[in-house]
Subunit: 343 residues, 2 copies
């Protein structure tokens, strides 16, 4: 069993890699699980040392688009014999809004090239495509396009960011490549992942982690939207669980070729702050900087808060029970990044 993860040195990619290595085996479309012999981590960055130390891990460092589009300089990103591809690599929402061409290249052209490379294998590999909640762009000023009160797997996405458009196009390509039998597509819409460890990134959603992570580290964390802002989120653990299940679902379990919504905990930014206070007290919430940012607010306002996930639920996937448990899991897993005393 040979598996590729694009974006394999990123936060989710690395966590997925560790989960796959720990699991050791992988089942494709209901066949008996086979040992994972090779895990190729394609990324612009080197994987973490603990991953490199595993004999099954092979790093491929470079720009995915260059590796796929401009012809392999040496090792191909999708080597022959690949059974499963997790396509996580992407330029994030804020970057794509600021630089249209970057998004078209890193998200659209790269996904087109990746699918073409998978098709060329001729072995119908599993392709788990990480799409996003960001495909759902709510519009608040168009009577002909009223914002739906609830988002289901059957809701029409109307993306309001280039990132969302590119992800939604990726879903369509995965669906058609699957229908044609070129790949076994598993397009999954990730919810906002919180709490991410590490540093802020260029995603407009970055503050959903930063407003918890930074205060726990004893420094100011920005929350540029109002407390009543609704958000559909999932912990890193539940997100990885969803990706693992998607990759190992049978064709029949998966059902339609369209993307499915991974489970979401529907909460508000204010409730997130309250959960933080339960875990680390007022010293933590005093470090949240509520200065509004109109650009971020406008993007986030176009993302839906109230998301349902019937297809994912039918696969046995459930949302996190509450945000406090997410904060406590973060504290447990990232003890060295937590400076405040927890309660």
């Amino acid at each position: 069993m040979k598996i590729v993860i694009t974006g394999g040195a990123g936060f989710l990619g690395a966590r997925l890699a560790r989960a796959l290595l720990a699991q050791g085996h992988f089942s494709v479309n209901g066949a008996p699980a086979q040992p994972i012999e090779q895990l190729l981590l394609v990324d612009r960055a080197q994987p973490a040392p603990d991953l490199l130390a595993d004999a099954r891990v092979k790093p491929l460092v470079g720009d995915l688009n260059s590796l796929l589009v401009e012809g392999p300089q040496g090792a191909p990103a999708i080597p022959s014999g690949t059974d499963v591809v997790y396509h996580l690599a992407a330029a994030v929402s804020g970057e794509c809004e600021a630089d249209f061409d970057l998004g078209m290249r890193s998200n659209l052209a790269a996904t087109e090239a990746l699918l073409a490379a998978c098709r060329k294998l001729g072995t119908q590999p599993v392709v788990v495509f990480a799409s996003s909640l960001a495909v759902f762009g709510l519009v608040h000023d168009q009577p002909a396009l009223p914002p739906p009160s609830v988002i289901t797997d059957l809701t029409l996405p109307t993306p309001q960011t280039s990132y969302g458009i590119q992800k939604f196009i990726g879903e369509q390509l995965v669906a058609d490549y699957s229908r044609k039998g070129f790949v076994r597509g598993r397009a999954t819409r990730l919810m906002t992942v919180s709490v991410r460890p590490g540093k802020p990134n260029g995603a407009a959603s970055s503050f959903f982690s930063g407003m918890i992570r930074e205060p726990l580290a004893g420094v100011k964390g920005a929350c540029p939207v109002a407390p009543e802002t609704q958000v559909a989120l999932a912990s890193p653990g539940r997100t990885i669980e969803g990706l693992l299940r998607a990759g190992q679902a049978t064709d029949a379990e998966w059902g339609p070729k369209t993307a499915l919504n991974l489970p979401a905990l529907v909460t508000t930014v204010g409730e997130m702050a309250q959960a933080l206070e339960k875990v680390a007290g007022k010293p933590a919430t005093d470090l949240i900087d509520w200065t509004p940012d109109e650009t971020i607010r406008r993007i986030v306002k176009s993302w839906p808060g109230n998301v349902q996930s019937a297809r994912a639920n039918a696969l046995g996937l459930l949302p996190d029970p509450d945000f406090e448990s997410i904060v406590r899991a973060y504290v447990r897993e990232n003890a060295d990044a937590v400076r405040l005393q927890t309660l």
Copy 2:
């Protein structure tokens, strides 16, 4: 006012060109209508002589993708000063199902390149994108994706052909290029156009015209689906009316950046045959060959019959009143192709 029509030598393209030349003026986003000075018809074929005879018409013969993607050999497909682009050129559904790469190139890559060329103009040209009813692919074997009983502008398209996927991706690109202010996008979903004159083409929907046109010409015409098959169609005249209105709608009239359904006459193949009989008697319907074709039937079954068009209606666009009027218009406009006596 400089206008480009891709697919400008095709049936709809030529008819649109004649309508534009007859209209003489064109209004962009509510500005006073300006005289049409140049109409560039980009196509692999030469335009008809009557069009070439008009001093305003300029032909550009070649493969659109080559003209756009591989750099202009001589005149560019989207010259500087272009105010309006009607993007009709496409490989049709049957072709794209048989040849995946053809569709990806002629429909997807060409649309990407066309939008990039329009963006490069820097003048936010109007782009009317001819999308299609074919984006709506009904699935009949997936409980998680029940076929909707009625299709509206807000229904989630789940294309079941590569052609439909490529058109739906085109809609997304037009939406994002519009949101970014690169173009004024007007993505319009054309219904099945019937009765088309001329010869059958590679579209799976070709028989919706052939079953009327061929008998009227005194030869056998195939109808490979059952009489009760529902179809959402529009006459060539109403289709052109829709394209003209879309191109001249203001941003406010147009509303959302997503595609809208042009008006559809919802009828059945059996009712179409009855209308033919009213116009040309039993000698006509005796010439319909009802031999089933499973491939065509499967594709057509995935297209919805019951289509609503609220946004188009709000623009003042209405469906044809009945199919008999469509057949009579065909007879009137194509007298030299009609051999049977009409009643």
